[in-house]
Amino acid sequence: MLCKTRSTPRKLAPESIMSESTSKPVLSIQDLVVEFKTEAGLIRALDGVSFEVQEGEALGIVGESGCGKSVTALSILKLIPSPPGRIAGGSIELDGVDVVSQPDAEMRKVRGSLASMIFQEPMTALNPVFTIGNQMVEIIRVHQKVSKAEAKKQAIEMLRTVNIESPEQRIDQYPHELSGGMRQRVMIAMALSCSPKLLIADEPTTALDVTVQAQVMEEISRLQREMNMGLILITHDLGVIAESCTRVVVMYCGKIIEMAETEELFRNPRHPYTRGLLDSIPRIREKKLETLPIIEGMVPDLANLPKGCRFADRCPKAEDHCRENEPPLEDTESGGKVACFIPN
């Protein structure tokens, strides 16, 4: 096992492998509403978001900037800066723990041990004035009653798990001495050092070069399988999702507009926005196109949302009633969900 000792023993691998057939959600979000006070007034960054992540499942959340995907991630760990933000409604249950009502002191225990997070920019997420060993030991000792020497041993083991070469030397280096890909590996090692049940990766490879991105994504997927963790992968890159997730949630303006198994979503996108998003991905084509397919217009301002469907203004299929009423998220016959009056 990765962590040799732990203060709160938890059921480990053998059972979780068996439980695959009767998987239970490690995360369950119901009707989550998050509001922010801004100069432009009160805005709803999340407006009634519900989804679940099963044990060992990799869920992708995709959407453009401002759609609420990062706010969702931060809410799960109760990291929404408050003020100006607050969880205004709904519930978040993380492995049986009700996150919304949890006091801050308790949340500290939850973060890292039940769920942890990897951020986009590893340089800003790591503290530049401490060695990576220092930072890793600190995390381990918050969650486990172990000596510094023992914690350091665990940290070195963890660095080895994420395929960092010569971890005994690396552990005494500072973040600036490492390359971007290496830093992100260190972040992953830190996030996994207490074997969380859920890993939230918020654009983990966006700041990396494509060859390094591929290596880091492979690492995340491998560890997720080996540790049977739930994974939430937040990204704007549908290519990354296609390669590492089993299910996808598509968000637009603070709402889920489509949810489906990955293959189903890519083969048969139901929402016009999902279709537009898939079409506009720059991809290597055998024959160059004259013009790239686009989604007209731009994401509306959250402080000034249109009445009715939030995508109606950009939607090629929108009809009058789309601009009047908001479509609910409803089940599709293929097992997914879509929020559209005229789905494809």
Partner: protein, 326 residues
């Protein structure tokens, strides 16, 4: 064939590494280390590479926004590197740049009208009274409403700001524009809008572009010719269709393979590249790619392969690669 609009020969841009007791130069970061290329009028050259490969330094160097160590740059018949200050300012009317960061490249205290008008004022283009009308025309070309003119940059989204940056670059009717990662900071749906705008502008005004990007998929759409840069040097260049259909250099092949494909059924190819870009403090011997190369041979560590045409039989003579395999 016509004389190319842009000709760069053996361009080098080195930054000194200072150190020691007297802070004297003890080495050099060879950011751009002998790159040659040419761009025909009305065509786009796509320059691809990972961060730190020198692609942005190259773009800035040929516009002389950056001190150049040695080499030759001809743009529109002018020898850019030998121009004096005044001549350079004049020559800049023909060559413009669009930056990556649409947030950092517009002055937050200027209105859009002032931003787009500034180059016209600096270069005293047209009558003073006509310049505002010209600004409106430029905004319209770039797909912006006239009403944006009196607003400030912070009121706009990334995609719109990039359009403003493009309008400003077009103001002087340049013949050549360096576009340095112009869509990297934008959302995918907006990316394609800006890419389409750039190709339309090229068709309409016959502008040549040096399009710098880390994304091979973006570059394919926009380029006539593509060059792949690694560690300060071009390792492969070819007409766009050829580069994507038959990449020669192991690095180009790895780059193409590493792009995540939006196709969940596809058998995932294993990542063949390990490790990172080498350090300038301790450059590898021989071919700079050899430490990461999956097909490196012992001789690759001995001497550096030159950029030379690959087998003319099966490919066009414009396809060049720097690799001992060919």
């Amino acid at each position: 064939m016509e004389e190319p609009l842009v000709q760069v020969k053996n361009l080098k841009t080195h930054y000194p590494i200072k150190g020691g007791l007297l802070n004297r130069p003890i080495g050099a970061v060879k950011a751009v280390n002998g790159v040659s290329l040419d761009i025909q009028a009305g065509q786009t050259f796509g320059l691809v590479g990972e961060s730190g490969c020198g692609k942005s330094t190259f773009g800035r160097s040929i516009l002389r926004l950056q001190h150049v160590t040695s080499g030759e740059v001809q743009i529109n018949g002018k020898d850019i590197l030998s121009l004096d200050r005044q001549e350079l300012v004049k020559a800049r009317a023909d060559m413009q740049i669009i930056f990556q960061d649409p947030y950092g490249s517009l002055n937050p205290r200027m209105t859009i009208r002032q931003i787009v008008r500034e180059p016209l004022d600096t270069h005293k283009i047209g009558e003073r009274a006509d310049r505002d009308a010209e600004v409106m025309r430029l905004l319209e070309i770039c797909g912006l409403r006239r009403s944006v003119a009196d607003r400030y940059p912070h009121e706009f989204s990334g995609g719109q700001r990039q359009r403003i940056g493009i309008a400003r670059a077009l103001a002087l009717k340049p013949k050549f524009i360096v576009a340095d990662e112009p869509v990297s900071a934008l959302d995918v749906s907006v990316q394609s809008q800006v890419l389409n705008l750039i190709s339309n502008l090229q068709k309409e005004f016959g502008i040549s572009f040096l399009f710098i990007s880390h994304d091979l998929a973006v570059v394919q759409h926009i380029s006539h010719e593509v060059g792949v840069m690694y560690f300060g040097e071009l390792v492969e260049r070819a007409p766009a269709e050829e580069l994507y259909a038959a990449p020669k250099h192991p690095y180009t092949q790895a780059l193409l393979k590493a792009i995540p494909q939006p196709d969940p059924g596809r058998e995932k190819e294993h990542v063949s590249l390990t490790g990172d870009i080498p350090s300038h403090n301790d450059p590898p011997k021989g071919c700079p790619f050899q430490p990461r190369c999956p097909v490196a041979k012992p001789e690759c560590a001995e001497s550096k392969p030159p950029l030379k045409p690959v087998d003319v039989e099966e490919t066009s003579s414009k396809h060049q690669v720097a690799c001992w395999l060919y």
